[in-house]
């Protein structure tokens, strides 16, 4: 991806400052309409989802007590996977955003909620709500863009190490919750120097994470298998499977939010003195939606409405689908691209970008079946040669 400011065709050049502010006002009005009508049925919605999730988890775990019987294993594992996905996505993520704080229910509140995720709620709220949602897609400010661990921008110099990036991305997907925890701890940065490693805040943070991982692992890999008695091993495998399924699913959904081709990124200097309207506009172009059924929206925690979520991170998730037509209309009237596609397409697009940028700039686009041998030879030279060779070949 190339930041919007460096693009030859700026997708917002046609909007005047007044038009941008007007757009912000319209979005404020949409927000206010939701606030004014928010009430009993919304509260009933989240309570129902929580209730269903808890019963589903309990039921699935009960079925897994007999997991030596293969159909029971399958049923229990599917149920547990779904329960874990609901718990992380529609429930945990959205409660921790403060979407349900207005109910004043101390049991469903951003300040008291804890979730089934390696990253403790407190740490995640800082890195996600504060950093990612405020500095969405600003290069150098929003770590969610993945600069720390991947090549995500043509302007990042290519190195052979990036050839392994698809594999690395897949591994990260399997262990996604630990990746998130490491990311919230800023592990890379904080392990780099002795001073940072011994910083009491960092030490307290990683101890908190380790404690949480220990409790989660004890529950999933020891207590519940032990409760299954003779089904210890199948139940253990069921828990591993459910956690990996949940990780792969949430990784896919989250990749779809900001990573598909065509989502805009921004230069750090571009947000200096940013107005409310400009902030909205950055969120509009910096997110991508997943189209699909109601079940799809529920299972993605309504992050399928990533655009609406980024515009209004604190509105109840069940309302995103309802305001989406209005938001979409606003895009159309302002000549902006409402980035929306079905899940397979968005996942493919995001993975395409991972592959494309794992290779030298232009390599994938230039490669055809006919010139493949020559292109492979070039890639081989660039991989085995030094920086000089790489520079010469990529310039050619």
């Amino acid at each position: 991806m190339t930041t919007l400011q460096k693009k030859s065709e700026n997708p917002i050049a046609h909007l005047s400052a007044e038009e941008i502010e007007l757009l912000g006002k319209e979005l404020d009005e949409i927000r206010q309409e939701v606030l004014d009508s928010r009430g009993e049925s919304d509260a009933a919605y989240i309570r129902t989802v929580i209730d269903v999730q808890r019963r589903l988890e309990l039921g699935s775990r009960a079925v897994l007590l007999a997991s030596f019987f293969p159909p029971a294993w399958l049923l229990g594992t599917v149920g547990l996977s779904v329960a874990k996905i609901l718990e992380n996505m529609e429930i945990g993520h959205n409660i921790l955003h403060g979407q349900w704080d207005w109910m004043r229910d101390p049991k469903i509140h951003s300040t008291t909620w804890e979730w089934d995720m390696a990253s403790p709620a407190e740490q995640w709220k800082h890195s996600h709500n504060e950093l990612h949602h405020t500095y969405t897609n600003v290069v150098g400010k929003d770590n969610d863009l993945g600069y720390g661990i991947m090549r995500v921008d043509e302007d990042q110099r290519w190195h052979p190490i990036y050839l392994a990036q698809p594999l690395w991305n897949f591994v990260n997907a399997c262990f996604f919750e630990y990746g998130i925890a490491a990311y919230d701890l800023e592990l890379g940065k904080n392990l780099a120097s002795k001073r940072r490693r011994n910083d009491p805040a960092f030490v307290a943070g990683y101890k908190q994470v380790l404690g949480k991982i220990r409790r989660q692992a004890t529950k999933d890999y020891l207590v519940h298998p032990a409760l299954s008695g003779p089904s210890f091993v199948p139940t253990l495998l069921a828990n591993v499977t459910a956690n990996v399924v949940r990780n792969l699913w949430s990784h896919s959904v989250i990749m779809c939010g900001h990573f598909p081709e065509g989502v805009e990124t921004y230069e750090k200097t571009s947000i200096e003195g940013e107005t409310r309207g400009e902030w909205y506009l950055r969120q509009m172009l910096g997110s991508a939606n997943i189209s699909g059924s109601k079940a799809m929206h529920l299972m993605t925690g309504n992050l399928s409405h990533q655009i609406e979520h980024h515009l209004f991170p604190d509105l109840p998730s069940n309302r995103y689908a309802k305001i989406a037509p209005k938001v979409k209309d606003l895009f159309a009237r302002n000549g902006l691209r409402y980035h929306e596609a079905p899940l397979p397409q968005q996942v493919a697009s995001a993975w395409h970008k991972v592959f494309r940028l794992s290779l030298p700039n232009g390599w994938l686009a230039e490669t055809t079946p006919r010139n493949a041998p020559a292109q492979l030879a070039k890639l081989w030279k660039m991989t085995t040669g030094g920086p000089k060779v790489r520079r010469a070949l990529s310039a050619a």
Partner: protein, 371 residues
């Protein structure tokens, strides 16, 4: 001016060994439910059990007058009982938002079903009272605190008592009358209401009067005008000999307190319901005090509490500073704040459990922030 009687609370016998065993079992169960608690699952099926947050289930709603109703509530197993005259804080979800209000308990102690009752008068514009009187159905779960309050009768009862009440102020007194009338005492009740039909428990009070258990003086303010000191002395000539309890609107209580003080009468026990939060006009702001750090800041109505506090040197939690990250949320113990984005007002009384985002909230009156 207030009572010196300490209500004795019936307590449950505690068996330490059993309690320790239960604690250990709960800790073991937590290993299987983390990050949730076993209670989170048990609450799904048994919200009134012992050991969980105190709740109650509305068993019945009975209309008393056009705008008042009695709710019979089955309290959770940990309910510690009450002393007649005491009140209970009730948390009700109205339009999805948890609201806490205080109501006097009106039931008899010896109820066979161990339920309690509260009697609610729908106040015009009252979000919670209107909801409880007109829209609450049997089966609804409400949240409860333990009963509390010092507005109770001493034991033994004084030989002569006087109750002065108005409107829903009759409710704690009804709680006392229903439980203490078996004891010999000379009781006078002076009750004010707009019309005879508006008297909450009207039929019951009149029946008590007819049976000679109490002397009832009904005042109907729409035709008779409001009660004053001279009138009260006239209605109850032996005022000085009576121990008095009063409950009703603030002007009435102020008037009585003043009369008791100037006339040098005995003890007057008063029960004041809800001292209203003072809300200032848009843009005016107020004093924001931080209970735990012991600082107070003058904030205008256009500055966020976060900014005002920080410029006064208070260390505040903060995040995005634009109302999206919820990193600055703090409890508003008491007071009123206005949302700087849309002018929406949030008002809190102690115990309401209201949390506000300090980065987009400005003071709209005196505020007490728990920080």
């Amino acid at each position: 001016m207030s009572t010196t009687v300490k209500p004795s609370r019936p307590t449950r016998p505690v068996r330490p060994v059993l309690a320790a065993l239960r604690d250990r079992a709960v800790r073991l169960a937590e290993l299987a439910t983390t990050p949730l608690l076993p209670a989170d699952y048990l609450d799904l099926v048994h919200p009134l059990r012992s050991g969980t947050d105190l709740r109650g289930r509305v068993e019945s709603v009975t209309r008393e007058t056009a705008d008042a109703a009695t709710l019979v509530i089955r309290p959770g197993a940990d309910w510690a009982g009450h002393v007649p005259g005491q009140y209970v804080r009730v948390g009700v979800d109205v339009d999805g938002v948890r609201q806490w209000r205080t109501y006097s308990i009106t039931s008899e102690l010896a109820r066979a079903d161990r339920c309690i009752s509260i009697t609610v008068k729908a106040v015009p514009g009252g979000v919670v009272s209107t909801h409880l009187v007109h829209r609450t159905r049997p089966g609804t779960l409400v949240h409860l605190d333990q009963a509390t309050g010092e507005f109770v009768l001493p034991a033994p009862l004084p030989a002569k008592t006087l109750f002065v009440t108005a409107g829903s102020g009759i409710t704690p007194v009804m709680g006392m009358l229903r439980n203490h009338l078996a004891e010999p005492s000379d009781v006078v009740v002076v009750h004010s209401s707009p019309t005879p039909d508006d008297v909450v428990f009207g039929a019951e009070l009149r029946a008590l009067a007819a049976s000679g258990a109490i002397r009832l003086v009904e005042r109907h303010t729409r035709t008779d005008g409001h009660l004053d000191a001279a009138l009260l002395t006239e209605l109850v000539p032996d005022l000085a000999e009576r121990s008095a309890w009063a409950c009703g609107p603030l002007p009435l209580l102020d008037l009585l307190e003043e009369h008791w003080a100037t006339a040098g009468l005995g003890t007057l026990h008063v029960e004041r319901f809800r001292t209203g939060v003072v809300v200032t006009g848009e843009g005016e702001g107020g004093t924001v005090s931080f209970g735990r750090t012991g600082t107070a800041v003058e904030a205008d109505g256009a500055t966020s509490i976060l900014d005002a506090a920080e410029s006064a040197g208070v260390l505040m939690p903060s995040g995005c500073r634009m109302g999206i990250c919820f990193g600055c949320v703090l409890p508003l113990r008491e007071g009123a704040v206005r949302d700087l984005r849309n002018g929406e007002l949030t008002v809190a009384a102690p115990g309401d459990g209201v949390l506000v985002q300090t980065c987009i909230s400005a003071a709209a009156g005196a505020c007490d922030i728990d920080h």
